[in-house]
């Protein structure tokens, strides 16, 4: 295979940046969720949580 360094750098940066961003989003969401009452989180209805 040719250009291995370029391929590793390119794909690695894409996967790395998107993974870090996804993890940061999940952490931020977790931190904020604990501050906000359930009725503000409509996606909880998916799980049958009534928000009470």
């Amino acid at each position: 295979m040719t250009h291995v360094g370029y391929l590793v750098a390119g794909w690695g940066i894409v996967v790395g940046v998107l993974s870090v961003y996804a993890v940061r989003l999940a952490r931020r969401g977790r931190a904020l969720s604990s501050l906000v009452p359930n009725p503000h989180r409509r996606w909880l209805e998916d799980r049958g949580v009534d928000g009470a």
Partner: protein, 276 residues
């Protein structure tokens, strides 16, 4: 060991839901399949010159395009959503549209940055340069990236959410005008770009290469959908946290005030530290 109640609360304290979890699994599976297609099943771009018999082409650098080109498409898509939502901000003036626009702009800017980086890394072995300042497509893409970076910066410099939303919407609607320039630049300024004309529309590429590229579009779309869903929920929670904090402070203030008034009415002094 966590109790059932603890586990239940932990489950609620996320921006995830069963559907978003399924989307996440589908996205990770698609990324893995794309990796196999791009690095194992597809061939390198090696062609033989008909007269000299020498090998030429992109060789294995072509595998970079299975991530670069799909990123371009989802960048357009994210900024398109931002433009539609920005119209919604100006017309409807509701937080839902503003959170949608902000979400799309942030994710689109991350994708746009990755487009510039992966394009530069691909260009080094194929064009023998990391960057070409005279290339119209590179420059219009850079301008697009900088305008949306400005959009995100603008959202941080004012505290009034309504004014912030309106100003940002106007900037977004101006910035998206650059997208047709980026997309059409290789046709309109053919002699001022290193980029080739579209090979996708004319289907000049081989079957498995084409399939891998389309699978890349699907994968990038799934990544966009997952990130969008969770970023939207984070944006929604940020607003809800502020509203909830303000509402709680008002209730506490009202209860403090009413308590002090009751004490005054019966001839008692308010509690120490109370500031009316």
């Amino acid at each position: 060991m966590a109790t059932t109640t603890d586990a239940g609360l932990g489950e609620r304290d996320t921006t995830g839901s069963p559907r978003s979890r399924l989307l996440g699994i589908a996205t990770l599976t698609a990324v893995a399949i794309l990796g196999v297609l791009a690095f194992v099943l597809t061939e390198a771009d090696v062609r033989i010159h008909p007269e000299t018999g020498e090998e030429f082409g992109q060789f294995d650098a072509v595998r970079m395009l299975y991530v670069h080109v799909p990123l371009v498409v989802v960048t357009y898509l994210a900024y398109g959503i931002c433009a539609v939502a920005s119209v919604g901000v100006l017309v409807k003036r509701t937080p839902w549209w503003d959170v949608t626009a902000h979400t799309a702009a942030e994710i689109g800017t991350i994708f746009c940055g990755l487009v510039l980086v992966t394009g530069s890394i691909w260009g080094r072995p194929v064009w023998n340069t990391w960057w070409e300042w005279g290339d119209v497509r590179l420059m219009t893409t850079l301008v697009l990236f900088l305008m949306f970076t400005g959009y995100l910066a603008l959202r941080r410099i004012t505290d009034d959410p309504r004014r912030q939303a309106r100003r940002a919407a106007v900037v977004a609607l101006v910035a998206v005008l650059d997208i047709p320039l980026v997309n059409r630049s290789v046709e309109w300024w053919e002699n001022r770009t290193l980029h080739q004309r579209s090979t996708l529309g004319e289907l000049k590429i081989e079957d498995l290469t084409l399939f891998t590229l389309f699978f890349g579009f699907v994968t990038a779309g799934l990544v966009l959908a997952w990130l969008f869903l969770h970023r939207f929920r984070v944006g929604w929670l940020e607003r809800a946290a502020i509203d909830h904090g303000v509402a709680t402070a008002i209730v506490e203030r009202q209860s403090e005030t009413s308590g002090a008034e009751v004490r005054r009415s019966v001839g008692e002094e308010p509690e120490e530290g109370f500031v009316p």
